[in-house]
Every structure is written in C-alpha cells, then in structure tokens.
C-alpha cells in the first residue's frame, strides 16, 4: 500500500505557492450577489440567408433572454466595468431555394449566450436544433414494379438539423441616440441528418434585422454580481 503522505505534502506545497503568488500581486476580490426583477426586450427578427454555394432564403423569428447576469467590477480607484451575460433563446422559421437542386423550409430552436457591455456591440453564440423539409426542383418521378410512372407532388425529405451559430451584432437601443432595433451578422455551421445515411454540412450566413416592439417585453430575474477588485 502506498503512503498518502507524499500526496498530502504536494497539495500543501501547491496551495502555499498559489497563496504566495496571489500576495505578490496584491489582489483582493470580494463578491456580492443579489437578484433583481427586470424587463428585457423581446426582439422580432427577419434575416436574409445565404447557404453555400447557391442557396438564398429568408427567415423570421424571435429572440429573448430567459436569464440575465449583470457583473459589476469595481476597481479601487472608483473605476467600474459592467458586463452582461444573458442566456437567450431564439426561434427561426425560414426557407431557402437552391435553383436546380432543392428548396427547403426549416425551423430552428436555439439556445445560447449573449455577451455585452454598456456599449452597443454584442456577441452571441447559439446551439441550434430543428427540422428541415426539402422540396426538389423540377418534377419527381417514381416507377412502380409494373413499370407505371407516377409524378410525386411536392416531393422531398424530412431531416433533423443541428448546428452552431456565432452572432456579431449592434444594438441601437444602447447607442447614443437609441432606436428600437439591432442588426447582426450570423455565420453558421449546421448539419442535415440523415443525408444518404450520413450527414450534409451547410455553411451559411444571415444578415439579420431585429426589431423591438415597445410593448413586447419579458420580465425576468437578473442576478447582479458585484466584484470589488482591490488593484
């Protein structure tokens, strides 16, 4: 049996080193949490959609936060930085057309995080899950065992879709002259499954316009974290 003593000593030594390192930089961090009820905008958005290599389309949807975190970092000299971390959900319903190939209608439900400060710029990442229905361009024929030809109307396939989206946005509600809308660019990588017993990747970009109707808001609890940084 191996004695536990050397492992214990190693842990102690590591903690002492860490403490010494912290003292060297003289950093004190005190944090205080509190909960507030706040109202946040629900955005209605529409997007123009380009999917490599030849698909163009559009989508409509909503985006809103379900949880919010406000992080206030106060420095010794009085300087204060406020950051927001919002958990957001987004729904999209859209279509695309790939001439001479197929058209599709899709629904995406997304969840992700929005990062922003007091400035109008923001960044989001979203994980998306949804469904896609394709419709082939041109007539679709099927031949039965007797050799009879049938034209299949509005024929296509159902697929599950999932992917990842990054959002780079500008919120004009937080700009110097507030306006109730935002604009964003959303590059995405998403997958269509099962495509020929495998999966088909898509690279797409959306140019999105988000509008905040005055009465279209959501109430949620915002966790406020104050960090006192003695530096």
């Amino acid at each position: 049996m191996v004695s536990p003593r050397p492992k214990f000593l190693l842990v102690c030594l590591r903690q002492i080193c860490l403490l010494a390192f912290m003292l060297l930089f003289k950093v004190d961090l005190k944090a205080q949490d509190s909960l507030h009820k706040i109202t946040q905008p629900v955005y209605v958005h529409s997007s123009f959609f380009y999917d490599f290599p030849q698909s163009f389309g559009a989508s409509l949807g909503t985006t809103f936060p379900v949880r919010s975190k406000k992080i206030i970092t106060e420095f010794k000299g009085g300087k204060k930085i406020i950051r927001y971390r919002d958990l957001i959900v987004s729904s999209d319903f859209g279509f695309y057309r790939y001439p001479f190939n197929n058209s599709g209608i899709y629904f995406f439900q997304s969840i992700g995080k929005r990062y922003h400060k007091e400035m109008p710029y923001y960044f989001e990442w979203l994980i998306r899950l949804g469904a896609l229905r394709t419709f082939y361009d041109g007539l679709v024929y099927a031949v039965n065992d007797n050799g009879d030809v049938n034209v299949l109307k509005d024929y296509g396939r159902y697929y599950a879709v999932t992917g990842f989206t990054a959002v780079f946005g500008h919120d004009f509600e937080r700009s110097k002259y507030p306006r109730p809308f935002s604009i964003a660019i959303k590059p995405s990588l998403w997958f269509q499954y099962p495509y020929n017993s495998f999966l088909l990747p898509h690279f797409s970009v959306e140019a999105t316009f988000l509008y905040h109707f005055k009465s279209f808001n959501i109430g949620l609890k915002q966790k406020e974290v104050v960090q006192l940084l003695n530096k």
Binding site: P53, N102, Y136, V140, Y141, A142, G147, P194
Partner: protein
C-alpha cells in the same frame, strides 16, 4: 399577427405554385428527379431534346457525379442531341435518408432501368436513347444492357474508357504503369515521380485487396501528368448546380466509411466480359490512348466480345482516362457521327 402569418406562408405558396410542363426544346436546360428505393437522383437535361435523341450519361467513380461533365467536355453534343446527366445514388447531388442497404450494383441497374422508363414517359416513347458510360459507368451500362431485354430500349451503346471488367482493368492498369514507368525512367523523364509508382506496382499484385487497387488507381491518375496528353485540370466548380458539399460528402461516404468501402469491395470481382456477346445494339468504344486506369487493352477486349455487328473502337490520341477532356473536339465529332450513322 396576420401579417406575420402571411409572410410565413409566402414560401409555401411559391412552392405549391411550382408546375412544370415538359416540352421538347432545341436548347433544353431542365432538371427532374427519379426517386427509387430510398434515393432521390437528379437528372439534368441539356441541349436539343427536339432531336428526339437523348444521350444518357452514366458517370464514373463510383461517386463522381455527372454534373461536372456538363460543361465544355460534352457541350458540343447539345446542339445536335439532348444529353441527360444523371447523378447516381449516393453521388453528386443525390439525396435520401437512410438508404445504405440499397447501395449495390444490382440496385443501380434497377435505378437505370427505371430512369429509361421515365425518360420515355417524359420525352415520348419515340425518343432514341443512347447510353454513354464512362469508367464505372461502363460497368453499370454493361450490366444494364446484358440484363433481360433492356437493350431493346436503347438505340446505341457508347462506352468511354469503361470498366466493364474490374479484375481485367486492375491487372492491365498495374502492368501499364510498370511498362510505361520503366520506359520513361530509361528515357530520363519524370524519374523521381515514376520511381515510386514502378516500385509500388512491382511489389504489389492487383486484385488482392481494395487498398492496393485504390492506391494503384491513385498512381494511374497521377501518371497522366507524366505523359504527353491534354489535361485541362479543371477543378470542381464550387458554385455549380451540384453542390461541392454534397458531392464531397457522398464521395467521402463511399471511400472513407465502412459501408461505402463494402460497396467498393463488392465491385472488385465484377465483370461482364463473358456476357458482352449478349449486346447486339450498335456500339462505339472510345478510349484514351494514355488511359492508365482502364487501359486500351480493356477496350480491345470488349470490341472482340461484343455481339454487335456494328461496333468500333476509336482511340483518342492525346487523352488519358477522360477523353472528353483530352480530345474534346474529336470526342464530340466521333459521338455525333456515330449517332447519325445509327439513326
């Protein structure tokens, strides 16, 4: 809310308005699909369908996709005839859900049988269909023609560097690489490039394993760069109608996954040489002189075995495995004259 619903319904309305009337045209540019046994396969039709002649192009690979040949390589045919570019199952822009169980040569032959029926349904029973099989398309076309009375539906057979006999092609391919490589090394041509090819082929027998045969195939494709042939080296058009993503994914699935490789493995012993005598329709064999992948010897063997009275082998002097690329004008002229002579 009503406005939002209306906007959401627009794409559905547009899709439901889609209706196509098929007309014969001197300049057709249209697409239709064949849905069969879990696969939805696009067929892009270009050219003069009003001529009542359709050349049905069977691409190689397997998995190459047909759309990439719908360009300068075959566009000279469009003025005279309609050309139907068919993406076979699990190739090019073909789609479907879980259909791997149907990835077999027999199923592909059935797909082709049904496609011929659809072509006649769509363009009229009086159209004349010529099958043009390139590389693996040669195996597929031969398999179709020797089955039942299928050849009664086809006016002529055009085999372009076709792999109607995989074991024979593999054997000839390896031997041609060794012979040409040795000769070129002796002349001091591309010594660095030829040496590993000759060494590999000398130390590995063909038809032993799929990996070895695929490696020899790779060397055969490379070797075309070391002999004096025309090679445009056009890459895949990334903005083509056949998405490079679906083309790439379908190729990946065939060559790098177990089910795909099982299909490739199943093709290794495939040969229709002993049944070629069944084919009695007019036949044109076109071969690139410097085709290492399916060497001319395979074409000569097919010429001797075909049952047709009207058969010829035309060698393209500056071509490798893709004569429509190496000798574009001569290729088109040869095909046009053959179709004219048969009609």
């Amino acid at each position: 809310m009503k406005q939002i619903l209306f906007v959401l319904l627009i794409p559905l309305l547009l899709l439901s308005c889609k209706k196509e009337t098929v007309r014969l045209s001197t300049n057709a540019d249209e697409i239709f699909w064949l849905s069969n046994a879990g696969a939805d396969m696009p067929v892009w039709v270009r050219g003069n369908t009003a001529s009542k002649v359709i050349i049905l192009f069977l691409h190689g690979g397997p998995g190459d996709g047909a759309y990439q040949f719908a360009d300068f390589q075959t566009d000279q045919l469009w003025k005279h005839y309609g050309v139907a570019y068919w993406d076979q199952r699990d190739a090019g822009a073909s789609a479907g859900n879980n259909n791997v169980a149907n990835l077999t040569l027999d199923q592909m032959i059935e797909d082709l049988e049904k496609l011929v029926i659809v072509l006649k349904y769509r363009y009229g029973n009086d159209i004349e269909i010529f099958l043009m099989g390139h590389s693996f398309g040669g195996l597929l076309g031969s398999g179709y023609l020797v089955k039942g009375d299928n050849q009664n539906n086809i006016r002529g057979w055009i085999e372009v560097d076709g792999a109607h006999d995989y074991p024979e092609s593999n054997t000839l391919e390896r031997q041609m690489l060794i012979d040409t490589g040795t000769s070129e090394i002796a002349k001091g041509h591309y010594v660095l490039q030829w040496t590993p090819i000759v060494n590999y082929c000398s130390s590995h027998q063909a038809n032993v394993s799929l990996d070895i045969d695929l490696q020899i195939d790779n060397y055969a494709a490379q070797a075309e760069n070391y002999v004096n042939i025309n090679h445009t080296n056009t890459g895949v058009n990334i903005f083509s109608r056949s998405s490079p993503l679906s083309l790439g994914i379908n190729l990946y699935y065939l060559y790098y996954t177990t089910p795909g490789r099982q299909f490739l493995q199943s093709l290794e012993p495939m040969t229709f040489t002993d049944q070629l005598h069944i084919i009695t329709i007019p036949s044109l064999l076109i071969w690139g002189k410097y085709d290492f992948t399916v060497p001319v010897g395979s074409g000569l063997h097919a010429l001797n075995n075909l049952g047709s009275d009207n058969k010829q082998l035309v060698i393209m002097p500056q071509s490798g495995h893709v004569p429509m690329d190496g000798n574009t004008d001569l290729f088109a002229q040869t095909v046009i004259e053959f179709v004219k002579s048969v009609r």
